[in-house]
């Protein structure tokens, strides 16, 4: 309960800090916002002084900064994120739409990475220095070293263009998920396989492990009873941290695969100075980070209750 309250306070602090920081950063960018917004709305063929002037008078951009910020924070209390300066739609509406697409992609990527990485890591950790361990080291280092946009293009060329198994890009059907989520998942799996491998190797080297083997449990039983739970603690903590990598990856991957998500929206909003959109998306991502870490904390406490009992004692 105490943990939840402190996380809630943390969420509020994050919201105010992110809102203020994005506001200050967007305001202090060089260049006239009215022009940038006009370019975002009308495109390079049609942005001119008349369009910029129309934007300026419509949005009242010349007003002082502080009241605008206070207004935004005040609106936030009523969960009003404002309206996009480019599309004129409520930011809440746009984000709900885009966040859904991104969350689905990120969720599937995370699931795939957990299915690919840790099993291989655990197998490798059971035999440190074995063939699988050495292969995994090479492959995961290689995958981590390849930039995600390159990995995405390699996968498209291989699976969509050469083998024609999957669509190269697009959105709307289940099969469209596979390539972008696989691209993200391989990057994540490259690291969580290493984390799992190191945790497994450490645990397999402990006295309790040797005792379990000595008392006659099969290798499988030792792993199930004494291994997985121990490995999952560092792994889960690390997955929480990987959320950042995931957000970063989503921005790149969405651009390549034409995915209408929040990363794509954020990049466009920054280009066209759509301050409410930038504030809204950054806020949602920040709060998402707090939420994910809260969940991870709670799960880890359940898996490994030692810290809590010690604290109570």
């Amino acid at each position: 309960m105490k943990a939840l309250t402190s996380r809630l306070v943390q969420a509020v602090v994050v919201a105010v800090l992110i809102g203020t920081a994005t506001f200050v950063m967007m305001r202090s960018l060089p260049g006239d916002a009215a022009w940038r917004i006009a370019a975002g709305r009308y495109g390079y063929d049609n942005v001119d002084a008349a369009a910029a002037e129309a934007v300026r008078s419509e949005l009242g951009l010349d007003g002082p900064a502080l009241p605008a910020l206070l207004q935004w924070l005040g609106d936030l209390l009523t969960l009003d994120f404002g309206t996009s300066l480019v599309s004129g739609q409520p930011v809440m509406h746009e984000i709900a739409h885009q966040l859904g697409a991104s969350a689905a992609l990120a969720g599937i990527a995370l699931l795939l990475s957990v299915l690919i990485g840790p099993p291989l890591g655990i197998l490798a950790g059971l035999r440190p220095g074995g063939v699988l361990d050495r292969c995994l080291l090479v492959v995961s280092t290689g995958l981590k070293a390849v930039p995600q946009f390159l990995l995405a293009l390699i996968l498209i060329v291989l699976l969509a263009v050469q083998l024609r198994l999957l669509p190269a890009a697009g959105h709307g059907e289940a099969r469209h998920f596979i390539l972008p989520s696989l691209t993200l998942a391989l990057g994540l799996a490259a690291v969580n396989a290493r984390i799992a491998r190191d945790a497994m190797a450490r645990i397999a080297d402990m006295p309790f492990w040797r005792f379990a083997e000595w008392k006659g449990l099969s290798r499988r039983e030792v792993l199930m009873r004494h291994g997985l739970r121990n490995v999952s603690v560092p792994l889960l903590t690390y997955l929480g941290l990987q959320f950042v990598t995931l957000v970063e990856g989503v921005v790149v991957i969405e651009a390549i695969f034409g995915w209408p998500g929040i990363g794509h929206a954020l990049v466009h909003a920054i280009f066209s100075r759509d301050v409410p959109m930038v504030q809204g998306t950054a806020l949602v991502l920040g709060l998402g980070f707090v939420l994910v870490n809260t969940c991870i904390d709670l799960i880890v406490r359940r898996i490994d209750p030692r810290g809590e009992t010690e604290a109570r004692a």
């Binding site: 260049g31 006239d32 022009w35 940038r36 006009a38 370019a39 709305r41 009308y42 495109g43 390079y44 063929d45 049609n46 942005v47 001119d48 002084a49 008349a50 369009a51 910029a52 129309a54 599309s87 004129g88 739609q89 739409h97 795939l112 299915l115 690919i116 099993p119 291989l120 655990i122 197998l123 059971l126 293009l153 498209i156 060329v157 969509a160 263009v161 024609r164 198994l165 999957l166 669509p167 190269a168 890009a169 697009g170 959105h171 709307g172 099969r175 596979i178 099969s218 290798r219 499988r220 792993l223 651009a255 390549i256 695969f257 034409g258 209408p260 794509h264 929206a265 466009h268 280009f271």
Partner: protein, 502 residues
């Protein structure tokens, strides 16, 4: 081997289930770079007209001649101040309401109140008449029908707009009607049964906005999209070797050019601008960067009949002559090879924008070619709005831009807004009375080809902008589809004329 069951259990979870091959369906998938900002004609109207969802009163054929659209014909009074556009009969919007004079007046009035070409016309009133719309002007304007062919003048049903005139839905008259729109990246449409013209052959079309050109090319190659618009030179070369895809290419009235601040002390003399022009190896840029057969030797491409003059003296590449001209103007090479005059280095900033991927590439080639001449150019690749903004505050030196002369099918629209007065994307601090008089005459009465050639010759001689290349538009079409053409005026994808191949 006793670990085998465990290994299998752990690995079996990996997602390598076989997947069905791509299904062939009855939907034509279109991919292009344009994003849909929302159901708003003033910002995304060009997507709706291209997809055949909405139409304009006037159309243009591939040669730029105006043809009937929702208006069957038009005429002006003797003094050129009163125009009557007769509306096509029995046309209904996608919501079943009639396309009548009141609806057209409503759409045009809303379009005119927003930024755009109609906004700058001397229109004093738009009124509904019996089966027609009347437009009154405060001064004659022969090109008015061409302005009504522009995408922002598209005719939408009254239910498409909110009370304040902002768009809420796309209810047009086109051969296709919207079934779902997911801004910014996708839109689905189906053939409109009650279309007034020839019905579309392909029942369903889907649009995807894919901003990365590499992805679009891969979608064409993998067969995910049947109709892929806007390819880069490298993809064109590769797709040309792929079976199952045909690449089409057409010259379009868009020119790659350098916008010059003619008020800049280094550039105010036309001789200095000519020297810069002579230092550009246009053929090299065209062949190596754009992979076009040739560069531009004058501003207007051959497709703009009248404005393009075959007899004009071509712009040439001659670095020695350029050096001699600059020497005559008092420039001498400094110790670093850069020209100096009265203690000032010949250093300029070239502003461009990455929205069109070829622009920064060409800018870096120009930087090298100008350096050979002794001119130090710094590239600033930034937001496209920096160019009109720099024009307005006078801070711009040079800008590398791609300018479309047929946003309005009659080039007079762009010529008038860009080269007379203070056009944001055209001449900067350059005014030529003879040119302005000619253009005013052409805008008023249409003008003879000789007038247009004379106006073009002034631009060729004075070089308020330095042309580099004429663009080509590219399209990759699946062999499953027949009947694709590229509209050089980029008004329509021509989807209603496509058929599935037998």
């Amino acid at each position: 081997m006793k670990h085998l069951p465990l290994t299998a259990a752990l690995l079996g979870a990996a997602p390598f289930a076989p997947l069905p091959a791509l299904a062939q369906d009855d939907t034509l998938n279109v991919a292009a770079q344009y994003e849909i900002k929302g159901p708003e004609a003033s910002t995304s109207g060009f997507v709706f007209t291209r997809m055949g969802l909405t139409e304009t009163l006037v159309n243009a054929d591939p040669d730029g001649r105006l043809t009937p659209g929702l208006a069957t014909d038009w005429s002006s009074s003797e003094d050129g101040l009163n125009w009557t556009f007769t509306l096509r009969e029995d046309v209904t919007f996608h919501d079943g309401t009639a396309m009548d004079a009141a609806a057209v007046v409503n759409a045009l009035e809303i379009a005119r109140a927003k930024p755009g070409p109609l906004n700058g016309l001397p229109i004093t009133g738009i009124t509904a008449a019996e089966g027609a719309v009347e437009i009154t002007l405060s001064e004659p304007m022969a090109a008015l029908p061409a302005y009504l062919a522009e995408f922002r003048a598209q005719i939408l049903a009254p239910a498409s707009y909110a009370e304040d005139g902002s768009g809420v839905a796309i209810i047009g008259t086109g051969p296709y009607m919207v079934t779902s729109m997911d801004a910014p990246l996708s839109l689905d449409a189906t053939a409109f049964d009650a279309y007034w013209g020839t019905a579309a052959h392909i029942p369903n079309v889907a649009y995807s906005g894919v901003s990365r050109v590499e992805t679009r090319a891969l979608m064409a190659e993998s067969g995910d999209a049947d109709f892929v618009f806007g390819l880069d030179p490298a993809s064109v070369a590769r797709l040309g070797m792929v079976d199952g895809v045909e690449v089409l290419s057409t010259a379009i009235p868009r020119t790659l050019l350098i916008k010059v601040n003619a008020g800049h002390p280094f550039l105010s003399d036309p001789r200095a601008r000519r020297a810069l022009s002579q230092a550009i190896d246009r053929e090299g840029i065209a062949k190596a960067v754009l992979r076009y057969p040739e560069g531009a030797d004058q501003l207007f491409p051959p497709s703009l009949a009248g404005w393009h003059d075959d007899a004009a003296a071509p712009l040439t590449y001659d670095v020695d002559a350029a050096r001699a001209t600059l020497a005559d103007l008092g420039w001498t090479p400094g110790p670093d090879g850069i020209l100096t005059r009265d203690g000032e280095r010949f250093a300029l900033t070239l502003t461009t924008y990455p929205d069109r991927p070829e622009l920064p590439l060409v800018a870096s080639v120009l930087e090298q070619q100008f350096r050979v001449l002794g001119v130090d150019v710094t590239i600033n690749s930034t937001n496209s709005s920096a160019i009109p903004a720099g024009h307005q505050d006078g801070s711009l030196d040079l800008a590398l831009i791609a300018r479309n002369f047929s946003l309005i099918p009659d080039p007079i629209g762009t010529v008038r807004s860009d080269y007379v007065g203070n056009g944001d994307w055209g001449a900067m601090n350059w005014n030529n009375e003879a040119f302005a008089t000619l253009v005013a005459h052409i805008a008023r009465d249409g003008g003879a080809p000789a007038d247009k050639a004379k106006a073009a010759a002034i631009l060729q001689d004075e070089l308020p902008v330095i042309p580099i290349a004429w663009y080509r538009q590219t399209l990759a079409v699946s062999n499953a589809v027949e009947g694709a053409i590229i509209d050089p005026f980029e008004r329509s994808f021509g989807l209603q004329d496509l058929r599935w191949a037998e």
